[in-house]
């Protein structure tokens, strides 16, 4: 079981070239194995923040400390970003292929992960033959297949229907239970944020700032029944109220 790194952002600022500030003095901490949910209005720099943490973009000011286990990140994008010319099996094992793993090990790896996300029957399918939810499962399997310890999720379930979304949320938590990665989860849905996270960060826009940080008191493990609980509803209501404050200010 891979222990996730601890991630600490200290006054992180980001602007593109000479443009205006996109992110302004973001400070937040994720302890090992914590899931941090980030909600906020469109265009508040949530996706940019994830890219900074993943080292896909350089920070303009401030710094990001990664301590503990060396960070081995995986990214799950809004769109499943599967290669359309590759089968489910080839898509899942793409990171392994890029690392130079041989063909036999790759196909057994793909088989194992397809099984874990419930797509064992679809190994030979091409992305166009899959539904939105299935594509996202492939994307999750691809991200997790290399046992990352830092997971960055950029509104991965935004385009899915509510039932599929809830199912995938539950699946994600049970995968987290088995591996304990640290994660940042960007979403537009407050209830999704509360369901998944240890901490909910609410961001305001222009420039993106941390407007509120809400510790999530709901105990793990969580499952479908958690959504019915009083504590969950209360937490969602509180976070929603804070989000509305931010949106109206």
């Amino acid at each position: 079981m891979a222990e996730g790194p601890s991630i600490q952002l200290e006054n992180v600022c980001k602007s593109f070239d000479e443009g205006p500030l996109v992110l302004d003095s973001i400070s937040l901490t994720a302890n090992p194995g914590e899931i941090i949910a980030i909600v906020g209005p469109s265009g508040c720099g949530k996706s940019t923040l994830l890219r900074l943490i993943a080292d896909l973009l350089p920070v303009s000011h401030g710094c990001i400390h990664k301590t503990g286990t060396p960070a081995d990140p995986a990214f799950i994008f809004q769109d499943a970003t599967l290669l359309p010319w590759a089968t489910v099996s080839e898509n899942i094992s793409l990171p392994a292929r890029l690392k130079g793993v041989d063909g036999d090990s790759r196909s057994s790896l793909a088989k194992e992960w397809a099984k874990r996300v419930g797509l064992k029957h679809a190994l030979g399918y091409y992305p166009r033959q899959l539904s939105g939810g299935m594509k996202m499962r492939v994307s999750i399997a691809r991200a997790l297949s290399q046992f990352p310890n830092l997971l960055l999720l950029d509104e991965p379930f935004g385009a899915l229907d509510a039932i599929t979304r809830n199912r995938l949320n539950e699946d994600l938590l049970s995968l987290h239970e088995q591996s304990g990665w640290t994660a940042f989860f960007v979403t537009h849905s407050v209830s999704e944020a509360v369901f998944l996270s240890h901490k909910v960060i609410i961001m305001s826009d222009q420039p993106g700032k941390v407007a509120a940080s809400i510790d999530n008191p709901i105990p793990f493990p969580r499952n479908a029944a958690t959504r019915e609980s009083m504590a969950f509803q209360q937490c969602v209501a509180e976070a929603t109220a804070r989000l509305h404050e931010v949106l109206s200010s």
């Binding site: 890219r51 809004q78 890029l98």
Partner: protein, 261 residues
């Protein structure tokens, strides 16, 4: 299987109407055979000039085929070079666009002056006319990889070669085949245009040369037959490309899917 397949029935009806209109126009304006021959006369010319046309077709095929293959190989390689170096792209691409604007007839005239009459000139013209659409579309396909897929490759520390072979080249294939299809049509047109200028190649003329000959001999029915042969040759070129396209894209790309309606 449906007996009345609209994909066969409808074009057949259009064809019958067109041939009817052809006869109608000829009768209506009382056009002489050397102005507008009747369809059956064109078919007779096919039979009468069969050996000549077949030989001419093989000559044109050789010119167009050589030029087309050269345009695919050189066009694709140049696209790979252009995508891997921004400086090369900035330096060269404007000239590729510029040369694309030169009318093929002017190109043909210049090439024949430079390289003399013969297969080399004809193939060169077919190459030049097909080269630009291939470079333009292949380069677009190589460049237009979704940002998120590039980020994913970057995250897994893919080497530039891995990015090229596992991401950019597969991504460009649909674009490449669009370019190749245009180039295949143009290769025959370029080759025939070349032959009109370059005349006889190795003592035996291609279809372009025969068009000039038939025109001067006032064998207008044979002229029509030669023109139709050009079309058929063009179709067979495109057919070969479509076969390879289906082989490469059939399983995954939307363009290779059957009609939705």
């Amino acid at each position: 299987m449906k007996l009345m397949n609209p994909r066969i029935i409808l074009p057949s009806i259009t064809g019958i109407i067109l041939i009817g209109a052809w006869y109608g126009l000829k009768a209506l304006f009382n056009l002489h055979d050397f102005i507008l021959p009747a369809p059956h006369q064109v078919i007779q010319a096919f039979a009468g000039e069969g050996t000549t046309l077949l030989r001419a077709t093989s000559v044109t095929f050789l010119g167009a085929g050589t030029g087309f293959i050269a345009s695919v190989v050189i066009g694709f390689s140049l696209s790979l070079a252009l995508v891997s170096s921004r400086w090369l792209r900035y330096g060269i691409y404007p000239y590729i666009l510029f040369m694309q604007m030169i009318p093929i007839i002017a190109t043909a005239a210049i090439i024949v002056i430079l390289f003399d009459v013969g297969l080399q000139s004809v193939a060169m013209i077919a190459f030049l006319i097909g080269f630009f659409p291939i470079v333009a579309s292949t380069l677009q396909g190589l460049m237009s990889v979704p940002v998120e897929q590039r980020e994913m490759f970057a995250l897994y520390k893919a080497t530039p070669m891995q990015e090229l072979f596992l991401l950019r080249i597969p991504n460009c294939l649909p674009y490449f085949f669009t370019g190749a299809k245009i180039a295949a049509t143009l290769a025959v047109i370029g080759s025939v245009t070349g032959e009109i200028f370059a005349g006889s190649t190795n003592g035996s003329g291609g279809l372009g040369f025969m068009i000039v000959v038939y025109k001067s001999e006032l064998k207008i029915d044979a002229l029509y037959a030669a023109t139709l042969t050009c079309c058929l040759l063009g179709f067979s070129f495109v057919g070969v490309i479509l076969y390879f396209k289906n082989l490469a894209l059939g399983k995954w790309h939307e363009s290779a899917m059957p009609d939705p309606r």
